[in-house]
Amino acid sequence: VTRLDDELRRRYSELEATLLPQVRGADLAAVQRRGRARRIHRALAVAAAATLLVVAAVVGVKLHPFAQHSVVGPVSPSVPSTAPPLPQGPQRVVLTDRGLAGIAAFGDPMDRALASLRERLGPPDQEVTNDNPEGNIFGVCPGGLNRYVRWGRLWVLFTTQSRYGQGRWHLFAYYVKGEQVSGRPDPATQRGIHVGSTVAELQAAYGHQVQIFPIEVPPSDGFRIGPGNGPAIDGLLSSTTADGRVTQLHGGQGCGE
């Protein structure tokens, strides 16, 4: 293995040495022009999207009851839920726009949420405390200090400062990503969308309630189940075509770059 590793290192290094002089001189001005054109194009696209959203919101309130309600209703244990009965099985986790159905809602105290999760799923696979303001695997999250706890591909995120609360540790988001771990939950939305579902399945499950859109910056394309500016379930896609796959699901307050 070491010999092969050394050989590959040598071959790649030689390839790089040969190619570098052949790379055409960088035309910086053209790149800057391309960037400026992109900025104008983006500004126009944002303006058009904002107009469309306003029109859709005005029309949607009249046409779709969905525009006035959450996708699955409130799910805090302390708030009566309007959602359909939970799926059976101790390891089932249902994702909603307000939290994890029947387990914890965004804003719930960390101790209570973790106790509920441990009771349902057993001890977690990983616990991480992050105090790096430059970000982490989720980007820069709300509050200066975050705690992430993982069961299989389900991550639950806590902080002391988010739009759900200030000054005390509470649940502010969940993420579902990565590979499925045997014996661990495969969290899904109420209508069965999970990491690995196709765009066609997503559209069949949510129809006009789901917006699918390209994301300019990696890692991928995206979707949102829910209204443009209210509680929603967000996600990433490998592509926006019908055979594209859901690669990540997320609820709660997002972590930026």
Binding site: L8, E14, R34
Partner: protein, 167 residues
């Protein structure tokens, strides 16, 4: 402006090496230059924010790899290609040994080419590749191991064929 001067220096310092890294994935110098320039154009728009990053080049690299993979996958879907890069319009001048490597890479799945380029050309350790691609470290290790095995098998096949031809 200072920002523009910064960006020019950043571009000059990183452009060529990034093109080579992308060439190892796309197999085409033209495509590699195109995606790297597009990635830098996107960086230029966000330069005020990106210049504060510890490693703005890592952002550009991520964008460029994403664009390259997206482009290759789209081409594969639309044209029914098997994922191997096509012949470049102006193929670079390479030694036989290097052509063998490029040809062998072209037979690998995109995800293998990507981790190989990040590891051997961008000099990233496994942990950093995992963070870059938001994948578990174990997945990256196994992709690297499988990619090496497949390359080794192809190199061995090539030597076998050479011997047969000589014999």
């Amino acid at each position: 402006m200072a920002g523009d001067r910064d960006f020019a220096a950043f571009y000059e310092a990183n452009y060529e090496r990034l093109v080579v890294q992308l060439f190892a994935v796309t197999g085409s110098l033209q495509d590699a230059q195109d995606v790297v320039q597009e990635a830098f154009a996107r960086a230029f728009v966000r330069w005020q924010r990106l210049r504060a990053y510890d490693l703005p080049a890592a952002w550009v690299r991520r964008v460029a790899f994403h664009l390259a993979l997206q482009g290759l996958r789209r081409a594969r879907r639309t044209l029914g290609l098997n994922g191997r890069p096509g012949l470049p319009s102006e193929p670079p001048r390479l030694a036989a040994d290097q052509l063998e490597l490029v040809d062998a890479l072209g037979r690998l799945p995109l995800r293998y080419r990507q981790v190989l380029a990040l590891h051997y050309l961008a000099d990233l350790p496994v942990e950093e590749i995992a963070r870059d691609l938001t994948l578990p470290v174990g997945t990256i290790k196994s992709r690297l191991a499988r990619a090496r095995q497949r390359l080794a098998a192809q190199f061995a096949d090539g030597r076998e064929t050479d011997r047969d031809q000589v014999g």
